[in-house]
């Protein structure tokens, strides 16, 4: 969570959104559009890019207004800003790409409540200058688009034998219908998430930067985290073995206090 050091680098924000904190595969945000509209690669890409535009602009505007918006009403203010951009984007889609608008349907207005957008506004744009916020939006949006296109492509190939409506399977290929239905979305999302975890795990084994990588997706919930060797980890199975006479209650108390200290430190920095 070393945001301070990466803040000035727009490039880092981009990579962060695409790989380290990929909103779909790592943060698991925005599951509703991820599961619902990725029946084809085209739909996934369309949804991803639409969200990217909204995310980029809302991050920029919220960052510019961050000193004016009182923190008590920040969520309603975010929603108003996001909803304005979504409305604008939807009108543009209706005018210029009606087919995509028809395919995505209800999920375009629902971008307003997409938790990636609200999440980035709350956790990044509201406390950072405009330029990094803009690039954070682009990075997150591209990461989202990439993930949705991947899921859509796999589902389209298996479920319909085509990719971007271009037939790639032999004529004798029997389509596996379940992949274009809702259960297929869960299967493919789970498999792709497992695959990227597998890639990251193999890389982490080689690299000494494992702890830093773990930190990027860290929910600070060390009790339920299985990552060993994480620098931030204070609750370890080995540590608990060494303290056999501590009550269970003490263990439950411990994370809370440490967490509070941790947050205080961050604010001071």
């Amino acid at each position: 969570m070393n945001k301070k050091s990466t803040m000035n680098s727009a490039w880092e924000r981009l990579v962060n959104g695409l790989v380290k904190e990929n909103p779909t595969f790592v943060l698991m945000l925005g599951m509703c559009p991820t599961l619902a509209v990725t029946t084809s690669a085209m739909n996934g890409l369309g949804m991803g890019l639409t969200t990217t535009v909204v995310l980029m602009l809302s991050n920029l505007i919220i960052s510019l207004l961050r000193n004016i918006i009182p923190s008590r009403v920040r969520i309603p203010a975010f929603i108003v800003i996001i909803a304005s951009f979504v409305t604008a984007v939807q009108l543009l889609l209706e005018a210029y790409i009606p087919s995509l608008n028809a395919a995505l349907g209800m999920y375009i207005p629902l971008i307003v409540v997409n938790c990636i957008i609200l999440g980035r506004a709350e956790s990044f744009a509201y406390s950072n200058p405009p330029i990094p916020s803009l690039f954070d939006g682009i990075g997150m949006g591209l990461g989202f688009s990439f993930a949705l296109t991947c899921i859509g492509a796999v589902r389209e190939v298996l479920g319909a034998g085509t990719i971007f409506d271009y037939s790639i399977m032999p004529a004798s290929y029997v389509t596996i219908n379940i992949f274009v239905l809702a259960p297929g979305a869960f299967f493919v999302l789970a498999m792709l998430t497992a695959f990227q975890n597998f890639l990251k795990a193999t890389r982490a084994k080689v690299s000494e930067e494992a702890a830093a990588m773990v930190g990027s997706g860290c929910s600070e919930d060390c009790m339920n985290c299985s990552e060993k060797g994480c620098a931030k980890r204070f609750y370890d199975t080995q540590a608990s073995d060494k303290l056999p006479d501590v009550n269970a209650e003490d263990f439950q108390e411990k994370p809370k206090t440490v967490e509070v200290e941790d947050m205080d430190e961050k604010e001071e920095v």
Partner: protein, 308 residues
């Protein structure tokens, strides 16, 4: 004498029943139905059974190699493969059988932690996977021996069926479901061995019959009711799949409740759904409710609860 001084940690009371033995009993109990299926539908049924079992065992073996924990010898993969094959029409392409087997073992069982951790019956989950993916292949029951619809589909469209044929099994359908006689022989074998008890199957079938009397549209017509019991996968499902140790509730009342739920769901699928059959969906839905059922029917420990 030396046994007297043996010191070991608990549990001290051990059962001789092993996973291996239970699975072997289920396999033996399924043999009459499998044999009749091959007799009824011809040699292709044997290919389907072999493909399914071999793919299931291979998947389990390869996953065991990857995880360095070989579980192939507990025979559970054989049971899953066999049950899946008995749930297939005879003329299904063999690669679909293999895909279903791999799905059952890999996705439904191994990825959730192997035998004992799967939250739904692997064979039925794979059947539903195939049914949704390839509906035209999975519901095409035409073969050399039979060209007509399944007895349940005939009943659904208002026709009449020969009940004697249905009990013996001379009808179209999936490989293992047609012969009520062969299935009941296998079920009696399991009941006598004590591998399964009657709680789930009896509450399942009785509640289904009650539902059929109430909503089936034929009232107390014995011909219709017996055809509904003998037809489709009800007997196969009730005795061999709903009784799966892993995916049924462990409490006694929970098992009865589970059976009643399955009976009602099967009735709803059969009489109000678009298809003629609904046993597999009913059992899968029941599997998903098992944690809830167990929570509701959890017995009160001695000394707890009651008036305080």
């Amino acid at each position: 004498m030396s046994d007297m001084y043996k010191v070991s940690s608990n549990p001290h009371v051990r059962s001789r029943v092993t996973t291996n033995g239970l699975m072997l009993a289920v396999i033996v109990a399924l043999l009459p139905a499998t044999g009749f299926g091959i007799y009824n539908f011809g040699i292709r049924a044997a290919y389907v059974v072999l493909t399914s079992v071999i793919c299931a065992v291979l998947t389990e073996g390869l996953f065991g190699l990857y995880r360095k924990k070989m579980t192939i010898t507990d025979l559970s993969a054989v049971v899953t493969g066999l049950l899946l094959a008995l749930n297939m029409p005879v003329n299904i392409p063999l690669w679909m059988v293999g895909l279903g087997s791999v799905f059952a073992i890999l996705v439904v069982k191994c990825l959730f932690g192997g035998l004992g951790q799967n939250f739904m019956n692997p064979a039925l989950a794979a059947r539903c996977f195939l049914l949704i993916s390839f509906p035209s292949y999975m519901t095409n029951f035409e073969c050399d021996a039979y060209t007509g619809a399944t007895p349940l589909a005939v009943l659904k469209s208002g026709g009449t069926v020969n009940n004697f044929d249905m009990i013996v099994g001379n009808t179209s359908g999936t490989i293992g479901e047609t012969s009520m006689l062969a299935l009941v022989i296998g079920a009696c074998f399991l009941l006598l061995l004590g591998v399964i008890d009657l709680k789930v199957p009896a509450s399942y079938i009785i509640s289904f019959v009650v539902f059929a009397i109430a909503f089936g549209g034929h009232g107390l017509d014995p011909q219709f009711l017996s055809a509904q019991i003998a037809g489709g996968g009800l007997i196969l499902g009730a005795f061999f799949m709903a009784t799966d140790y892993v995916t049924r509730p462990i409490t006694a009342w929970g098992q009865i409740l589970f059976g009643i739920f399955l009976g009602v769901m099967t009735g709803i699928f059969r009489f109000f759904g678009p298809g003629a059959e609904g046993v597999s969906y009913a059992i899968i839905l029941g599997n998903l409710l098992v944690p809830l059922i167990e929570k509701v029917t959890k017995p009160v420990a001695f000394g707890r609860g009651g008036k305080s």
